[in-house]
Each structure stands twice: as C-alpha cells, then as structure tokens.
C-alpha cells in the first residue's frame, strides 16, 4: 500500500478519516459526552462548540472532502514565492548614520554631566569653557524662527552646543531632568540629588533636546516590561506545553486505535485530563489579560487584550476540544478482534478503518506481543528480579511525569527482562527435573 494511504488513515487529529457525515456525528456525540466530564470548567465555550460541531462540522467535512478531491485534481502544493531582502543594506546605511549621532549624543551627555557639577559663582565662564559659544556679532536673526535680534529679542546660547537662538526658541532642562538623563536608568535614585542647590535650569536648543529625549525614551522603554507581556509569555509557554501534550496524545491515540499495545488506555485518559486542565489554565490566563486595567491614553490596548482573549478561546474551541476522544473499552476490544480476525463489522466505519490499517501494519512487519501481566514475586534476590522491580518503579515515575514515550520504551525493557527471566526459570526447572 502506498505511503499516502497509510498517512491518510493514521492521522487522527483531523477527522478526515470518518468518511461520512453520519459517522462524524456519532463521533462528535461521543466526543462531547466524554468531554463533559473532563471540561466542566470551560463548559460555556464547550457548549457552543458542541452545537456548532453537530451542525456545521459535517458540512465542513463534506466540503473538505470535495475540496481535497478538487485540489488533488487541479493544484499542486504552493511554496512561498521568492523574496528579496534589503535588511543588510538597510542596517549598513543605518549604522553609518547612527554612529555619528551616537557620538554626538554622548558628547552632549558628558557636557551635561560637567555642567551639573559647576558651582553657581562664575558659571557663565565655566560654561563657556565647556563648549565654545558661537560668536553672535554677525548673527542678526534667530536661526530657527528667523526673527531678528534687537533690544527686546536677545541672543541666547545653548549651553550644550553653544549655538545661538532667541528666547522663545530656547528650551529649559531642569536640573532634576538633567540629573535623570546623566544617571543610568537602572541605578537612578541611588545617586544623591544635587538639584537643591540650584532652582534654575539649563538653557538648550531644540536639536540638543531632541537628541537627549530620544535617547532617554529608548532607555526607559527598554526597561519597561508591562504586566501584559509577562502574562502573554506565560500564555504562550502554556500553549507550547499543550502542543507537546496534544502531539503526544494524537500519537498515543493513533497507536491505541491501531490495536497496538505500546501505550496504555489509562495513560491516554490521564493525558486528556492534563490537556483539559491546561486548557482551563490558558482560558483563565486570557481572561486575566482581557481584564487588565488600561491606560486611557492607549485605547489600542483594549482591542489588543480583547483580541488575545478571543484568539485563545477560538484556539481552545477549535483545536483543543476537537481532539478525538479515547476509544472505549468496548471499542478497544473490537479493535483487537478486528486485528485477529481481519474481518470486522463493515456497518460501523471506525472498525473498518482500523481493519485497513491493520492490514497495513501487518505488511510493514509489525507483530503484536501480548502483555504478560503475570507478576513474579521477588522470592529470592535474583538480580534480574531486582532490575525488573526497578524498571517497574521507573515506569510509575515516568507515568506520573507524563513521559509516555519513556513509559513505552521501559515497558518494552520490562518485557524483555521477563522473557529472559522466564527462560532462566525454565532452564532451572529443566535442570532440576534432570
């Protein structure tokens, strides 16, 4: 049988394998009766989902089938087209430009720091020592607003770069703000305030102010980590964990539905409960995000928070709740019979699917091994028995940690050990009887 067919049957997550709406409905009804016990907490979402599934999913299914047929006929899968990146060029241009700006800003900061340390007495002189003031004799108009200087409109100098401007074009940096700017953001408050000695401020031009402010803004924003970010990253982490569990779940579900004995049904059930618990957790998290208080200056945050909430509930509804339920014991029995008889009841579609799968697995050379539940009591201190006990306790531990891959491989180990042990015993008894 072709690889494609094999894939089609095995994939349990998408319900494509249920070939008719009827089967799908029964499947969904089962799915929901199961889920009710597990997902009481998210009942509201679930209730809606249940109804929608019953009505729409079968249509969707039909549609999906048709679409698949059509796609098979008409279209090959589409890779994303070519792209062209300008990122390197962009960064190169930016680097050249920013280097200049950064050095300039740093120069300003150094001057500002020195200005703050000046004493009040002969300040003007010291100020001019720090930066040369532009000679104003030939400047007749303010360079930024072009009003001509006279007795009323007087020349002023920027204390940071020494350029000339009129009073209305001047900006004033209070000592406190200046203090904040020269102090590294992290250690602010740690430094002693010197502002008390001077109540006035530093006159600067717009250009210098811009440079200082944008640096300050960038620094502050780097430090800021609003609560929504923490909650959201928590949400995403939980989602990743769930994804892990869901992948494991579908793998186990697959294997069990095939009648393999690698995984235990009880483990599947408990994993399902775990998924449900986590679903509840992210549901709560998203509600928390949606109800975070919002600064009235940022109305977008409201939209953002509601969108996150909505997206999460869609994710739970359409993805987590649509995982197929574990097979019941009866079904499991049927599957096993199907495997041995290769002649399952064709009225029910699920066994039929599985029958086909069974054939596939047989041709791939997989042979079932019966689980031997007979436990040998550790009468004597046989190292083999000891090891078996160890393995059993490992299995318990792995199960508790939901490491079902490990459970499966340990079970395999245990089986081998048992096999060897039985052989030994037989040999012993054989020797005895000799």
């Amino acid at each position: 049988m072709a690889e494609g067919g094999l894939e089609g049957f095995i994939c349990p997550r998408c319900m494509k394998d249920f070939r008719s709406p009827q089967n799908l409905i029964t499947h969904f009804e089962r799915s929901h009766s199961e889920e009710q016990d597990l997902l009481k907490s998210i009942k509201s979402i679930y209730g809606k989902a249940k109804k929608i599934f019953k009505l729409d999913e079968q249509d969707l299914e039909q549609f999906r089938k048709e679409l698949n047929l059509e796609r098979n006929l008409v279209e090959e899968p589409q890779d994303p087209g070519p792209t062209k990146s300008y990122t390197d060029y962009f960064k190169e241009v930016r680097r050249d430009r920013l280097e200049h700006r950064t050095t300039e800003t740093n120069k300003l900061i150094i001057r500002l720091d020195r200005l703050l340390q000046l004493d009040g007495s002969d300040r003007k002189l010291h100020e001019q020592e720090l930066v040369a003031w532009i000679d104003g004799t030939s400047v007749t108009r303010c360079p930024s607003c072009a009003s001509s200087f006279n007795l009323v409109v007087r020349q002023h100098h920027c204390r940071l770069c020494g350029s000339i401007m009129c009073n209305s074009c001047s900006y004033f940096l209070s000592y406190e703000t200046a203090e904040e700017i020269v102090t590294p953001v992290k250690t602010f408050n740690g430094r002693e305030h010197r502002s008390s000695k001077e109540s006035d401020s530093i006159r600067i031009c717009q250009h210098c102010l811009d440079m200082l402010e944008s640096r300050r803004k960038a620094q502050v924003e780097q430090m800021m980590q609003p609560i929504i970010c923490q909650l959201y990253s928590h949400l995403q982490k939980s989602k990743q964990q769930i994804q892990h569990s869901v992948d494991m779940y579908s793998k186990m579900h697959n294997s069990i539905s095939l009648g393999e004995a690698t995984y235990a049904l009880q483990d599947l059930h408990s994993l399902r409960t775990t998924i449900a618990d986590k679903a509840q957790m992210i549901d709560t998290l998203s509600k928390k995000i949606a109800s975070l208080p919002v600064d009235p200056n940022t109305p977008k945050a409201v939209t953002l928070q509601n969108s996150i909430r909505k997206a999460t509930s869609v994710y739970i509804k359409d993805y987590l709740l649509s995982q197929p339920p574990p097979p019941t014991l009866e079904q499991l029995e049927q599957i096993k019979q199907g495997r041995s008889l290769k002649n399952a009841d064709d009225d029910d579609l699920i066994p039929r699917e599985r029958l086909r799968i069974t054939k596939v697995t047989v041709t791939t050379g997989w042979s079932p091994a019966n689980v031997n539940n007979e436990r040998t009591a550790p009468e004597d201190a046989d190292p083999l028995l000891e090891q078996m006990n160890n393995v059993r306790s490992y299995i318990d531990q792995a199960r508790k940690a939901h490491r079902y891959e490990e459970v499966a491989s340990l079970e395999e180990n245990l089986k081998m050990l048992k096999e060897i042990y039985r052989k030994q015993q037989r040999e012993k008894t054989g020797r005895k009887s000799d």
Partner: protein, 561 residues
C-alpha cells in the same frame, strides 16, 4: 498555480519570521484588501497578530502606540507609504519593525528609510511579491475599477497593472512566454512593459522554465457580450445583482435587513457552503439551502414545513438560537432570498432567456421581436432594457435590417436615463466589430455563427446557460496548439512550441465570474497536464463594465457609429 495559496504562503512566512510575541499588522488600503482576501481576522489572530492598523488612516499618525508590540509592516512601495513610514520610524509607536513591501522597491527608498530609523527599531526589510487580489485559487484581480481613459491606458492604471502581473508571476515562480491580442494596443503595451521588467529583474526571474508557461494578454473589447449578460451561477449572480467587493457584499439596501447582515463576507476560504456552491446554478443553490434547512429542521424537531425561500427566511428568523449557531446559513438564506426576489421582481428569467438567445444563436427578426416586447415591459429594469438593446446592437451591428434606431426610441420613450442611452452608443464605439479581432475575419465569423446555431438546435438543457465566453474557444484552440500567431503574436523572441503547462490569461478591461467558471471547468477537465489562471484589471459585473465603457470612451470622437 494557486494564487490564494501563494499569498497565504507569503503571509505565513511574514508572521513566522518575526519570532513569537504579540504583533500588530500595519497596512495601507490596498494591502489590507490583499490580506483580507485570503485570511479572516480570527485566522490571523492565531498567528499572534492581534491588532490591524492602517498607515493611511487620518487618525493613525496621532494615535498612541504600544511599545511592547512587534510591528509587521506590509505596504505597497509607493511614495506616500515611504514618507508615512519615515515619519513612523522617527517616532516609533511599536518596539520592533519587520517591513515587507508588496513589490519591487527602489534601493534609494530603502536608504531614505534607513536614515530615519534613528532608534534602530527595524529588524527586517524585504520584498514579498503579493501585489494583487487573490479572488479564487485560479482567479486574481488588480482591483482597478476602470483602466482605460479616452481610448488608451490610464497611465497610472497601466503602471499598477504591470506591477500586479509581475508580482503574480513572481509569487508563482513563473517566467512565461508572453503573447497578446494583435489588434489591441493596450495589450501590446502591457506585454512590452512586463517583458521589460522581466528582463531588467532577470535575477529575480531566474526560474528557468519559461518554455512551459504562457502569459496571454487579451482585451475586454474582444468579448463585450459576456459582461453584459445576467448570470445564474452563485458567485457570478451575487456579483451581478448585489456586487461583490473584496469578498464583501453590501446588503444595506435590502428592506428589513437585520443589522448584522448589512454587510456579509463571502469567502470560499472560510465559508464551506459558499465554497461548495460557488459554481452551482441558481436552481442547485436553492436545493442545497433547502437540504441544509432540512437538517436544521430535523435537529430542532420542528414540524414546520419549508416549501419556499420565504418559508426558509421565516424559519431562520423564528429560531433565534439558530441564527446564532448558523450565522453562515442565515447569511446565505438572506443572500439567496434577495436574489430570488430580484429575479421575480425584474422578470430576470425572461430577460436572461432572450439575452442568451441573442448571444448564442442567430435569428434577427425573432430576436428583434423579443427585445421589443421586453423593453416595453414595465417590470424589466431600465438597465436590463438598455443591456438588451446593447446586446442586440452588438450582435446585429452589420445586419442589413438592423433596427437599433427604433429600439432606442422605445428606450427614450420609457424615460431611460441619458447615461444609459449614451452607453448603448458607447458600447459600439468601445467594442463594435471594428474593435473585435474575431469579426475582422468574416469566414471565421460565419463558422462561429453556424457552430452556435447547430449548438442551439441540438437540445440545450439549460436555456439560461447556453452562452459561452469567447475565452472558451481561445482556450480550446490554445490547448490544441492552434492559436494563430498572426492573431496572438509573441513579445520578444518568443517561440512557439505549442504546448504550455501553465497558462495565465489576463484580460485588460476586466474579467468576469462567467469566465472564471469557464476556466474552472477547463482546469477540471485538463488538470494536471494544463493549469489555467485567470486575471483581470478588475472583476466586472454589467454595471461596473458600463462604467468602464463610459470612462474608456470619454472624449472619444464617434468614428464607427
């Protein structure tokens, strides 16, 4: 070749490259349409995009941002956008920027942008070629309501169309041979411009399979009949009677419409019922809807009988819980209900029957009679009456007993608006026999007519879908390798190996949903050996087509009528 999948693939790439985190998507008017054609809001939210913003909205510049968001920027490479983006980067509202342009951008513009990124917020700058509207997997539109101005290309529309088609070719990784309709200058100019770009950007177009794909550029004027006809398949019918604009249908004019239904979204990507019925005819949709309603009914254990579409409407309204559950079905019931009421109110079945006969059979006196009868009927809308006269005028333009004059006087007497009357003249000027390639060769024309005549005799099962667009025959001939080089020459040193695997048809002056159906059926039969993709400057219905005609013929001297 699936344009929807191509655009989706790019969007996915965009959302994945920016690494996990809350995201905002910043777009312009056109890129918003491009994305909304393939993804609904709830789908894009699953990709962590929680906010959608428009850079060209008047409030955007003054709005406050959220520095903890990552900003995906998806814009067309226009000068306004570059300026707006420069302003944005100077005062960034968001923490990090991933910039994607929908088409080829000048390096100088990148430099300008880089110089404005003083806070080093930009992380990526790339070109992602999706500068067109993906309507269906095999159908795209450039989104230009009109493209001709006074008989020639509107220069900005030409520029936009070249960009659009280039991005289609890139997104599908095709570097095709180009052929164009010989008698149409606009087609030739477009082909040459595309060829220039392909040659200039040869490194981008190095897919190395040019022999197998073809871009065939056609002129709407070669088939003016198709956009004038009433349609009976779902998508085409909705567009003809209610108008689909970027997958949205405005129902606000429908009397008594519930508030949530004033605008409905019809997207085959998100709506299973629509996807299944998009190419179904009017009768079949009715059946599908009835089936769906029957399902609901049994589920509700209701004993109410559903016989007519009016009953269905009542049923849905009587069960508010259903309305909630099946917004989708309620939507289609509303749409189909509105279609059916229009069909009855305006005698569309009778109108369509005559339209179809004129378009696919030749019987002058009978057709003249039917047209006269219908345009005298008060139930028939003015536009339908005018369209009937247009069809007649186009069909029998060179017939010895042509009687357009008396039909026009009937229209005048009816009080048909001046603009419609003018358009009945315009259409002959726009696409009369002088402008059509097929009419230039009388022999071919005669064969075509007899062919149609025979078709008409051999028992047509549906009188409302007899008509086949000219595109149908063009495709057939292309398939057989018989498309004449004389009529459809090559651009550059193209060569004719006769067989193409991928065919992109582009119609200057707009495609129609009827042609989309033609292509769909053609693909169904011939896939996978041949795949056809259809595109147009827009997707026309008769109303928008008449606007195009009016625009195209503005200030053009009448020389042919």
């Amino acid at each position: 070749m699936n344009v929807i999948a191509a655009v989706k693939a790019y969007v996915n790439k965009m959302t994945e490259e920016s690494e996990p985190g809350m995201k905002v998507l910043l777009m312009d008017k056109e890129t918003t349409s491009i994305i909304s054609m393939v993804y609904g809001q709830s789908e894009i939210q699953q990709k962590e995009v929680f906010l959608l913003e428009r850079i060209d909205s008047p409030n955007y510049a003054n709005s406050t941002g959220l520095r903890y968001l990552k900003c995906l920027v998806f814009l067309r490479p226009t000068q306004q956008n570059i300026q707006a983006l420069c302003a944005e980067l100077r005062n960034p509202k968001y923490g990090a920027y991933y910039i994607y342009f929908s088409n080829i951008i000048a390096k100088a513009d990148i430099k300008i942008l880089a110089e404005h990124d003083e806070q080093e917020v930009v992380k990526e700058v790339q070109e992602f070629y999706m500068d067109y509207l993906a309507v269906n997997p095999h159908l795209f539109s450039i989104g230009l309501p009109t493209c001709m101005l006074s008989g020639n290309w509107n220069p900005s529309a030409l520029q936009r169309t070249v960009q659009g088609i280039v991005s289609v070719l890139l997104s599908l990784r095709k570097c095709p041979t180009i052929r164009y309709q010989a008698n149409s200058d606009p087609c030739k100019i477009l082909g040459q411009r595309i060829d220039e770009v392909i040659n200039k950007e040869s490194s981008l177009f190095s897919f190395g399979q040019s022999g197998h794909s073809l871009l065939l550029i056609l002129d709407r004027r070669d088939d003016p009949m198709t956009p004038l006809l009433n349609q009976w398949t779902y998508q085409a019918m909705v567009h003809e009677l209610l108008t689909i604009n970027n997958n949205r249908v405005n129902l606000s004019n429908v009397p008594g419409i519930p508030k949530e239904m004033t605008e409905v979204v019809l997207s085959a990507e998100q709506d299973g019922f629509y996807a299944r019925n998009i190419f179904m005819n009017y009768g079949e949709i009715g059946t599908s809807i009835k089936q769906l309603m029957d399902q609901f009914q049994t589920k509700a254990k209701s004993h109410q009988k559903i016989e007519s579409i009016a009953d269905m409407k009542n049923f849905v309204e009587a069960y508010p819980q259903f309305k909630k559950l099946s917004g989708n079905v309620a939507k289609h019931v509303t749409v189909v209900g509105e279609l059916s009421s229009m069909v009855n109110k305006y005698n569309l079945l009778d109108v369509s029957e005559v339209e179809q006969e004129i378009s696919s059979q030749a019987d002058h006196s009978a057709h003249l009679q039917s047209v006269k009868k219908l345009i005298n009927n008060d139930k028939v809308r003015e536009i339908d009456a005018a369209k009937l006269v247009m069809l007649y005028a186009l069909r029998y333009q060179n017939h010895s007993n042509n009687d357009v004059k008396s039909l026009m006087s009937i229209l005048k007497k009816r009080g048909v608006s001046d603009s419609l009357l003018k358009n009945t003249v315009n259409i002959l000027e726009y696409a009369g026999s002088h402008a059509r390639q097929s009419d230039l060769f009388n022999v071919e024309n005669a064969v075509k007519i007899t062919k149609r005549f025979i078709k008409g005799l051999s028992g047509v099962d549906n009188v409302y879908t007899q008509h086949k667009p000219v595109l149908h025959e063009t495709l057939e001939e292309l398939m057989k390798g018989r498309l004449k080089e004389q009529l459809y020459p090559y651009i550059g040193n193209g060569y004719n190996n006769g067989r193409y695997q991928d065919i992109i048809i582009f119609i200057v002056g707009g495609a129609t949903y009827e042609e989309s159906l033609t292509v769909h059926s053609f693909n169904k039969i011939n896939s996978p050996s041949v795949n056809v993709l259809l595109g147009g400057t827009t997707i026309h219905n008769s109303a928008s087509f008449l606007l195009e005609v009016e625009q195209a013929m503005r200030n053009v001297e009448r020389t042919h009528t």
